[in-house]
Symmetry: C2
């Protein structure tokens, strides 16, 4: 007789929903890398209604770092277009709670913080295009070491919207020039998950003086002879913007702990 | 009353055909840059039937440097899919005639050389994608100086087919990293006119030791701070291959003097 867990997994028709239930129950309490392969995972920013429209405009003006996948209704923790049963208060395994721009708690459930004026902003994430890169045979060094891509603050100004403004954060993946050309082609197909790179080559051109200095603790970058560094806009951008703007209240996901959605990464390809 | 020539030009419905007639009559006897804007211009290689299938396979295996737009029938100087009235013996303003790999004449008409075993191979040319780049606002420095792009022999082996083999020739255009990313996207849409670049960044990675040394006399390259050199496969590749293989007889176009076809560059975009 088969192991009942294995049977349940074999019979499951929605691994994304299974993952959310496991996170909600506390059974899964770590990062979501490798969870529900093929499914879109989302960065999360949750803000009071008084900031919502400004932030939404900020995302609209900066679609590469802030690709909005949906917008919640004020006070409503569901996101029906991303998954019927989603509850953003319980379905991520880690949250950062901010007051006036200062982190006041790292939590695994934000039900006690929920308010009827909070609006959820799920944002596309590079895991989606990384899947496409790997499927097309583009090696990603940080994945070979089970790490995260290196990330950097640049001197590129994002477009301001009301109180929201700041420098763009980028993630960097080093690869051969031929793979860089292929990676530009592949990620161009995914405008809702950061899209094409914002820079290739000399890091100094976008204000990065030292690839070995990372502010957000990604895997130390690796470069082989003739490799080209390729830089994509990064979903960390709205987090540092929030820290700069210091809204009275804000909740974000904790790094690596994303919302697992029912969408397929392939659904996001425009061609 | 209007000038009759101006009237004739205004009434013309096919500027490509007009250009071919002007070249055929000797009225236009120089390069074809800027002639019949929007129309595809073609590199030309003409070989005896005994080499034709091998060369055709060579083009098939190396679509980036040798993008075949059509193939003539043996002994037939017409290319009906590129223009109803085309006569490849008279419709280019300059030809190079080779015997056993050595140039024996530069001619403006090859009617006297025509044989009933000759096969014409018109190949796509970078003028088509340059038009798209300029339309999309990507500056091309050599055009601002009315010149040709810099070209180089690389250490990249083309795929061999029978007697045909050799190193790939590339053209280089320097631009900002942001423009390079955009140029990769734009030229990806044009696989029949060299398509996406074959390399970006460090020239040494493809065996080019000095960007200031050019074997084929293009405009000296210009680089601004933080510019990225972008390298495309070049239609000169089959010419140096022919010089290496030394077929008993061969005719090519003279640099810059292309066949002007009825096709529109926009017809070649795959999306």
């Amino acid at each position: 007789m088969q192991n009942p867990a294995a049977v349940s997994s074999l019979n499951s028709s929605n691994p994304a929903r299974d993952a959310r239930l496991a996170i909600r129950s506390g059974e899964h309490n770590t990062h979501t890398g490798g969870v529900a392969p093929g499914h879109v995972q989302a960065n999360m920013v949750i803000l009071p209604k008084e900031y919502a429209q400004e932030f939404q405009t900020y995302c609209m003006l900066n679609p590469k770092p802030c690709p909005l996948l949906a917008v919640g209704d004020a006070g409503d923790p569901s996101l029906p277009t991303l998954g019927e049963d989603i509850d953003v208060r319980t379905d991520l395994s880690g949250y950062r709670v901010f007051e006036n721009g200062k982190e006041i708690e790292v939590a695994s459930d934000i039900t006690s913080y929920w308010r009827d004026d909070l609006v959820s902003f799920p944002l596309g994430c590079s895991l989606s295009f990384e899947e496409a890169l790997v499927q097309h045979g583009v090696p990603l060094y940080h994945r070979q070491r089970n790490g995260r891509p290196a990330t950097y603050v640049t001197n590129i100004d994002t477009a301001a919207a009301g109180r929201f403004n700041g420098k763009m954060v980028v993630s960097m993946r080093a690869m051969s020039a031929a793979d860089a050309i292929r990676a530009i082609q592949i990620t161009t197909r995914f405008p809702n998950v950061h899209g094409a790179p914002v820079h290739i080559g000399d890091p100094e051109a976008i204000g990065i003086e030292d690839l070995d200095y990372q502010q957000f603790g990604g895997t130390p970058p690796q470069m082989r002879p003739y490799d080209v560094p390729v830089f994509w806009a990064c979903g960390i951008t709205p987090q540092i913007v929030v820290e700069t703007v210091k809204p009275s209240f804000c909740i974000t996901h904790l790094a690596g702990r994303m919302l697992v959605t029912d969408l397929l990464n392939t659904d996001l390809a425009i061609l």
